[in-house]
Each structure stands twice: as C-alpha cells, then as structure tokens.
C-alpha cells in the first residue's frame, strides 16, 4: 500500500497499538528546556523513576536567559531559580546540558539541528510547540506538555493517536525579496490558525525543494501556528550535506547505514492525503500581520481590514477586538503603520541566513531615529559565525543592538519586552495579545522586512531596499 512520509515514520516507531488506535510511539530524540521541565523532573523524583535514556535527551536553558552581559548571572530571581533547577535536574538525572556559558547554548530548536541531534526519520519531541521546526529534516517533531515530558523521560515513548495527512504543494519561484517566512505566513492566512488541527502537514513542490535547510526550518517552525501537529519535508541531499560531520550526527559505518535509511524517507507517488492545498510561489508577496493572530495577514501593499465588510458576526467582533488592541484604524495602509521597535531573532528567524538577509538590507544604512532595534542570534554558534562574517558590525553600525543568544523578545520571559502600546516589527512567530509584553503590539515579518521597517521607521516593502 502506498504510504506518506508521515505514515512511514509513524509505522517505524510503533511500540504498541491498542484496538482503539491509541499507540505507544518510540521517541528517538527528546529536547528539554527550563520552562516546561521542572514539574516533570519533580514527578520522576516523587515516583522514584529514572530518565530511561539520558543519551537520547539534550537540555538547554533558552526562554529565561538574559541576552545582555551574562557574567553577572540572571537578575530576575524566578528566572534564576528555573535555570538553576534545570541545571540541578540534569546533573541528578544524568542529562547533557548546554549551560549558559557554553557557546553551544541557544534556542532549543536551533541547537538541535546545529549539533546533528536532529535527524531524518526520527520522532523528536520537546515541551515546546515550535518543536515542529525539526520537521524540516524529515523527522516527525512535535510539541508536548509537561506531563508528556515526564512520560518521555520515564519511558522514552509517548501515547499518541495517528493524525491526518495534509499536503501543501508550493510550486514556482519566489519573487525577489520574498522569503520562506512570507510563504508560511501566506499559508497560515489561507488555512487559518485551526486549519491544520489534527493533521501533520507535509510541504512539497519544487519551491520547497529549492529552499535551503534553514529556510525550510522557518516553514516547519510556524506550522503549529496553522494548528497542525507537525510539519514535514522529505529529506534530500541538502539535508544530508548539512548533517554530515555535525558533532552528534552518525559517524563512520553508522553514517552510511543512516544515509541509506534516510534516502528512503519520502511519500510514495500514489499515496493519498486527507487534504491538499496548492500554492503558486510566484504570487506570494512580502507579508505582514496586522492583528493578534498569525492568520491576520496582509501583503505590504495591502490595507488593514474593515470590520464593516465582514458579515460573519464572530469574525467581525474578532477584527474589532484586534484593531482596538493593535491601535489601528480600518482600511489603513500597511506602510502607514509606524513602529517603535524591531526584533530580529527567535527559533523562526534567528539563524545565520536570517541574519545575513537582514544585514544585506542594513549595510551602510542607519535605522530611523525613533526606532530601537535588537538582534538576538539563535545560538552561541550563530553569533560566532555572524561575528566572523562581520554581520555584527553591520547591525551595530546601523543602530541595532547585538545581543547574546536566547528566546528573548519572542515571548518576553526575560528582560526583553515591549512596553504597553509599543509597536514592534518582529521576526518571531506569534502576535498574540501581550505576547511581547503587556499591551505590546506585534507585527510578524521576515528578517528582510524587519530590517526595512527599522530603516523606514514604519512597516515597509523590503523590495525598496533590494540592490
């Protein structure tokens, strides 16, 4: 029978399946961070249980860490307790941890691929919804809650029911200045934040295959914003080349064996999907979000919606609520939206290619005088690479702050946050109310669009600044 990539990975990880379809799935890789793990480790301790496979588990503190000078430690007492607790738990249970002073430290979804911990055909979980990122490698990767973190730590398995198969085909070429961030924002705009609920989305088509490994990660990362359990892309030579020689990638004989297995990871030609969507890459434009849900997208040439044009009462109320929160007027042009802050970073757009894309726009330019802007590299290694390429100097010369790695203002758990009514062009993934700070207003954009907004002082078209 013809099967999809999701079917294949699922079937290869079935430890047990009950008659009602409830399955026990083997978990190959478990990423752990400080926010969603303390109660899980405590649960293990209370039940006298061990971590079943510490060597399949990798931990890092990312959500709470300061992005300013770290030599003085963490100022916020609660954040410090959480980070210290992770360290103590990892020590007690024998789990490898990248500490705050380790240059491999960074956002959990950036360090997994960077280290070769993320591998095709594996099941990868983490107590974080953006675990979907790792699907770019052809792994089945999804976020779990803390009870499930405890379950995986104790059993190296997870109780799951099979989801539906959803394929999104993107064909054609992207216009100049349009990136994978715009592709995924466009997709979320089309399917809505509940469009993928209950499904695993496989991204296919020649546009997807033409994307770099890092661009693919941006797409898979925000799959959760479309409500799907996971996003997947069949692995190819780009993935294999990316992984070759990474510290935790298979070595020697194992590399050959793994490669052989990885090459078979693709959806059969005749496999059927529960749902399919086709997009023409050539029609995608630079996108922004105007509202408080990632589905609230318009193109940079577009206008903010007018609730009066909406017949559905729920939608109308929702638009009104969002406009009020965002401090916007109906029918306002996207380019008339003036911004105060710019944030470049996060597990969505905090990798080296993202920084290069922004730096290319910012080279020899100054950011607008009323804008304050920061770059938070996704990991210590991304930071090091950027500094070797001189990107840090481009950012600093243009007026950006150059920070230490972490999640930072994507969710504002550390000191980096918006003040009430401050407006930010952000390369992160969620524009929910209060996400970047109480009353803060977030517009999701690509790194190039964030750079363009910083220069112009308002949301602007990155194509204007393309050389």
């Amino acid at each position: 029978m013809s099967t999809t990539l999701y079917d294949k990975i699922w079937n290869d990880h079935l430890v047990d399946q009950q008659e009602d379809g409830t399955a026990l799935l083997f978990v190959d890789r478990h990423l752990v961070h400080e926010v969603t793990s303390p109660q899980a480790f405590e649960g293990l301790r209370n039940s006298n249980r061990k971590v079943r496979h510490p060597n399949l588990t990798l931990a890092v503190a990312d959500h709470n860490v300061p992005t300013t000078d770290r030599t003085k430690g963490i100022a916020d007492a609660e954040s410090k307790i959480q980070v210290d607790t992770l360290e103590a738990n990892c020590k007690e249970f024998g789990v490898q941890l990248f500490g705050m002073d380790d240059k491999r430290q960074g956002i959990v979804h950036i360090i997994g691929p960077e280290q070769g911990f993320t591998q095709p055909g594996t099941v990868i979980v983490c107590g974080d919804s953006h675990t979907a990122t790792h699907g770019a490698f052809g792994s089945l990767a999804f976020g779990i809650g803390t009870s499930e973190v405890e379950h995986v730590l104790a059993t190296q398995t997870l109780v799951q029911k099979k989801g539906k198969n959803f394929r999104i085909n993107v064909n054609g070429q992207l216009p100049l200045g349009v990136t994978s961030k715009d592709v995924i924002l466009q997709i979320i705009g089309k399917i809505g934040t509940a469009g993928g609920t209950g499904s695993v989305i496989e991204y296919a088509g020649d546009l997807i295959r033409s994307l770099s490994v890092e661009q693919r990660m941006t797409i898979c990362n925000m799959t959760i914003e479309g409500g799907a359990r996971a996003g997947l892309i069949a692995p190819d030579e780009k993935i294999f080349n990316y992984l070759k020689g990474k510290p935790m990638s298979p070595k020697g004989d194992n590399w050959e064996k793994a490669l052989n297995y990885w090459k078979g990871l693709k959806t059969d030609d005749n496999a059927s999907f529960d749902q399919e969507l086709n997009l023409n890459a050539g029609e995608i434009l630079p996108m922004i979000t105007w509202g408080t849900s990632p589905q609230d997208v318009i193109t940079i040439d577009g206008k903010v919606p007018n609730p009066q044009n909406e017949n559905d009462e729920d939608k109308k109320n929702s638009i009104e609520r969002s406009l009020k929160y965002m401090g916007l007027k109906p029918d306002m042009a996207a380019k008339d939206i003036k911004i105060d802050k710019v944030f470049i970073g996060s597990c969505t757009n905090g990798r080296i290619e993202d920084l290069r894309e922004a730096a290319k726009i910012l080279k020899d330019k100054k950011i607008s005088s009323h804008v304050s802007a920061m770059v938070v590299p996704g990991s210590g290694l991304v930071k090091e690479q950027a500094e070797q390429e001189g990107l840090d100097k481009i950012f600093v010369n243009s007026g950006f702050e150059w920070r230490e790695p972490g999640c930072s203002m994507c969710l504002a758990m550390n000191a980096d946050k918006l003040k009430p009514e401050e407006r930010c062009a952000s390369t992160s993934n969620r524009n929910f109310e209060g996400r970047q700070g109480r009353g803060g207003r977030t517009h999701l954009v690509s790194p190039g669009m964030a750079a363009a907004a910083a220069i112009s002082g308002n949301l602007d078209d990155v194509r204007k600044y393309q050389n």
């Binding site: 009602d20 398995t157 509940a194 590399w255 064996k257 209060g434």
Partner: protein, 201 residues
C-alpha cells in the same frame, strides 16, 4: 490525577474565538517550578487592569462565574504554545470542564493529563448552552453517559474511549505505559540492530 465523573455548575461563557495559551496564562507566570497556584493569574491580562485591580466586566470576576467549574468558549480554544500551565491555571481556578467547538491539539491532550474534560460541540449547541451562563442556571456534565443535561434537554458528546477511561479512573499514563516495558525493550533491541545510529552505539 483527580477522577472525573459528573459535574454540575453554572457555566461561565467567554464569547471569544482563538483564545490562546498566552491569554489563558501569560508568560510571566511560567517561571514557576510548581503546578499549583496559577489560578489567580488565569486570564490575567483580561482579568486585571494595569494597577492589578479586577476588571468588573470580565465574566470570571463576577459572581457566580468566579465559582464556575465549566467554561464555555469560542472555537480553537487553547491555540498557541504547549505550556501545560494553561490547564494547570484552569484547574487551580476550579474549572474542570471546557466546552468549545474546537481545540488546539496540544492543549486538548494536556487537559486529559490533568483531569480536565474538554468537550467538543457544534457552534449552535454552544450558543444554546451559553444561554445558561447568561441566565446563571446550572448545567450538568456526565462523562460516563457522554451527555450534558440542561433544563429539560440533553446533548450527547463524543470522546475517545481510552481517554474517557483514563479520566473516569484517574489513571496515571506513565504507570500504564510502564506496564508495556517488555514491548519497549523489545523495540529498543530491534532498533539497535536495524538503526544503530539512533543510540549512537
């Protein structure tokens, strides 16, 4: 885990769609290393003003909804992050049953790990039930019978039989899975042979 069987309460109604986990419990409360104590910060941004005073208009600040055990809300409830702090906050507030026309997957799954029953109903039924919130009248939820009783009417709902059993009996997932240790070990031996790079042996 607390067992769930029957529940009777005046429901609270939040007529908002896409209530995300950041709304349910904002990030500043995720710094805790405990599961308890989050109830006072449930829906923090909507529930309190800038001075930290309760917002009178917000349903959960009003009697009798401040004692509701059932929350009715718009579609796609719990979208966003995987934070289990969201169901922990609901539970700590006293809500053990949520009724919506759809949920985000991770939130839905997290509810069952904490003795919370998330019920899925059609939109029109949601509207009908929300009238009971407006009139401040009780409704009853019976998990075993898979029904909600209100006034002289009742609505059936559907739930995965395994999840139902776990809720009714308050079963611990980990203990259940550990009963399958033989199968897990067998699976592990097998992948060591066919996929030796997984354990990096």
């Amino acid at each position: 885990m607390q067992k769930f069987n029957k529940l009777k309460s005046i429901p609270a109604y939040l007529p908002i769609v896409n209530i995300d986990t950041d709304m349910i419990i904002p990030k500043q409360f995720l710094k805790t290393i405990k599961r308890t104590g989050l109830g006072k910060n449930l829906f923090f941004e909507m529930r309190y003003d800038d001075q930290g005073k309760e917002v009178n208009d917000f349903a959960l600040n009003q009697s009798p909804f401040n004692n509701s055990k059932i929350l009715i809300a718009g579609k796609n409830f719990g979208c966003g992050s995987s934070r289990e702090h969201a169901p922990w906050a609901l539970l700590d507030f006293g809500i053990t049953c949520v009724i919506s026309s759809s949920y985000a997957d991770i939130f839905y799954s997290n509810c069952f790990k904490n003795g919370i029953l998330p019920i899925i109903l059609e939109e029109e039924k949601i509207k009908e039930l929300s009238e009971y919130a407006n009139r401040k009248e009780e409704i009853s939820v019976d998990l075993n019978e898979e029904k909600i009783v209100y006034g002289n009417s009742e609505i059936k709902f559907q739930i995965d039989p395994f999840k139902k059993k776990c809720l009714l009996e308050g079963l611990d997932d980990i203990a259940l899975s550990l009963k399958k240790s033989d199968k897990i070990e067998k699976f592990e031996r097998n992948i060591k042979n066919i996929k030796p790079w997984i354990f990096n042996d």
